[in-house]
Amino acid sequence: MTTTQRVHWDLTYDVHLGATWGRFMAGLTEQQILANSCPECSRTFVPPQAYCESCFVRTDEWIELPAEGVVEAFTVAWQGFRGGPTPPYAIAGIRLDGASTLLMHYVGGLDLDDPSAVREQIGPGTRVRAVWAQERTGQILDITHFEKI
């Protein structure tokens, strides 16, 4: 007895970025990482956000952050998923200098053949720098990845 039937979805969306993320993405095309700060608690958000969720105020002070920071948490994907990059690859939560939030991104240029040697290469505390794409179109992958400094 057949107990399943195949159903397929094929949907495409155009998501409106809005003013805040729109400005962030425009910055990336110029090789700038733009953040904004809360006037009350002085925390700096990257990617930026229009309001500070702690202070309930608009965060309209914009600053450019250096494209460098420190790895705080990471993983190396030995297995990926359909439509994703080919494993192995490394992803990290990066604290850009001056940021109060983490920016998630790939870390490239590592030797991931030996699982036991991963931690010493990009363990928390590792300093990394953004590598820019040649052609930038205003998306998070305008930074292709971060690399160790």
């Binding site: 998501v15 948490a73 030995w78 939030t101 998630m104 991104h105 998070i140």
Partner: protein, 389 residues
């Protein structure tokens, strides 16, 4: 004084993999619903509401739950509330039902959690649609990759090893082997967990939950209206939720479950719990990745920061310990989407009623903690304290 809400019955179906499952989603839900009614002794016409959950997209449906309720055979007049909050849907079902009862708007609400990880041929792709689009979705992170960020940060702060993380997986499997409703009922050794296929540093396949199919149901009633019901009612003493920022990068610290710790303080205050280890008899936490469990136990005040693994190693969290944790085997051994999220509440309620399967019943359990969490980076938490009345 406002009406209080109690749990008056529970229904569970045995779990299995999507491949082996021959029942439809509707059939599993029917089985759980009729199981809960039978367990409670409630007549179907005594119900005055349904709260049911789904996760849009995971089953190839949007608001799929609304198509199920009329086919349960419970009448045509019942008001239905549908919840769709991803990984916290299951916990929120009970919270919403309890608030409806406390508000005096309903007296007997059936809570239904279905097998929402059922249909997707490529569940990871479906789950990925839940991660923050635009800035985090394009970065090659599936659910377990995001789950792996926690142990990577925890290792840095506390020096925990892969062997340490395996300890909670070994214990969950040992507990699941006693639970007739669990999906994975095999026992495992630390070596087997560590030696399993590497998925995402430092997680191996044995530290990551399976995809299960099952359904669960709970009956939430107004206190003092359960004289026709068989089980000892279990009071929903306190229930609350909290959330981190939307982006995973908004988390302040991956080496601690800060959001859960803040929620625990609030819920313990509501429930008048001062010393959780002393006052709580049974715990079910939602730890689909093994390293989450010791971190959650720390956030919940059962161990100091960095002490969660030692707590598990000490035997305190086993069935004969002073704070048994995940006697169901937890989501690491059975994770059926919304049904799996509802499961901690179902199992704790059954423990406090004295109606848990015999091999996993904690004798004389009076107060229990049930936890849920969701969001691809676990930005969202819910927490309940239940008490035998």
């Amino acid at each position: 004084m406002a009406t209080r809400a109690v749990i008056g019955g529970a229904g569970i179906t045995p779990a299995t993999s999507p491949r082996k499952q021959t029942s439809s989603s509707l059939e599993l839900i029917q089985e759980a619903v009729w199981g809960a009614l039978q367990h409670s002794g409630a007549a179907p016409d005594s119900l005055d509401g349904i709260v049911i959950g789904n996760i849009d997209g995971f089953e190839g449906t949007v608001l799929g739950a609304k198509h199920l309720v009329r086919r349960l055979g419970l009448g045509t007049e019942l008001p239905v509330s549908i919840l769709n909050t991803g990984g916290t849907t299951g916990g929120n079902l009970v919270q919403v039902a309890a608030r409806q009862v406390r508000a005096g708007d309903r007296r007997r609400v059936l809570v239904i959690g279905g097998p929402t990880f059922f249909g997707a041929q490529d569940l990871q792709s479906a789950i990925n649609t839940n991660s923050p689009m635009i800035v985090e979705q394009p970065l090659g992170m599936g659910a377990y990759h995001m789950g792996a960020f926690y142990p990577s940060a925890y290792t840095e702060r506390f020096g925990a090893t892969v062997e340490d993380y395996a300890v909670s997986a070994v214990q969950d499997h040992e507990h699941a082997s006693r639970n007739p409703y669990a999906h994975l009922r095999n026992t495992m050794t630390v070596d087997e967990v560590v030696g399993a296929k590497p998925l995402s540093y430092p997680l191996t396949m044995a530290m990551v939950c399976p995809v299960s199919t099952s359904a669960n149901a709970l009956l939430v009633c107004a206190e003092g209206t359960t004289s026709d019901l068989r089980p000892t009612p279990v009071l929903i003493k306190a229930f609350a939720t909290s959330s981190d920022p939307y982006l995973g990068g908004g988390k302040n610290d991956f080496a601690a479950m800060e959001n859960l710790a803040i929620l625990a303080q609030k819920v313990y205050q509501l429930a008048d719990v001062r010393d959780p280890r002393e006052e709580i008899d049974v715990v079910e936490v939602f730890s689909p990745y093994a390293p989450m469990q010791p971190m959650q136990l720390e956030a919940l005040g059962f161990a100091p920061p960095g002490g969660g693994i030692d707590l598990i190693r000490s035997g305190a969290t086993r069935i004969d310990g002073d704070v048994p944790v995940n006697l169901s085997g937890g989501p690491l051994c059975t994770n059926a989407g919304v049904a799996g999220e509802l499961a901690p509440l179902v199992y704790v309620a059954l423990q406090l009623m004295g109606d848990a399967p015999e091999a996993m019943q904690v004798p004389g359990a009076r107060r229990g903690l049930a936890h849920g969490t969701g969001g691809t980076f676990f930005q969202f938490e819910n927490l309940a304290i239940l008490e035998r009345t």
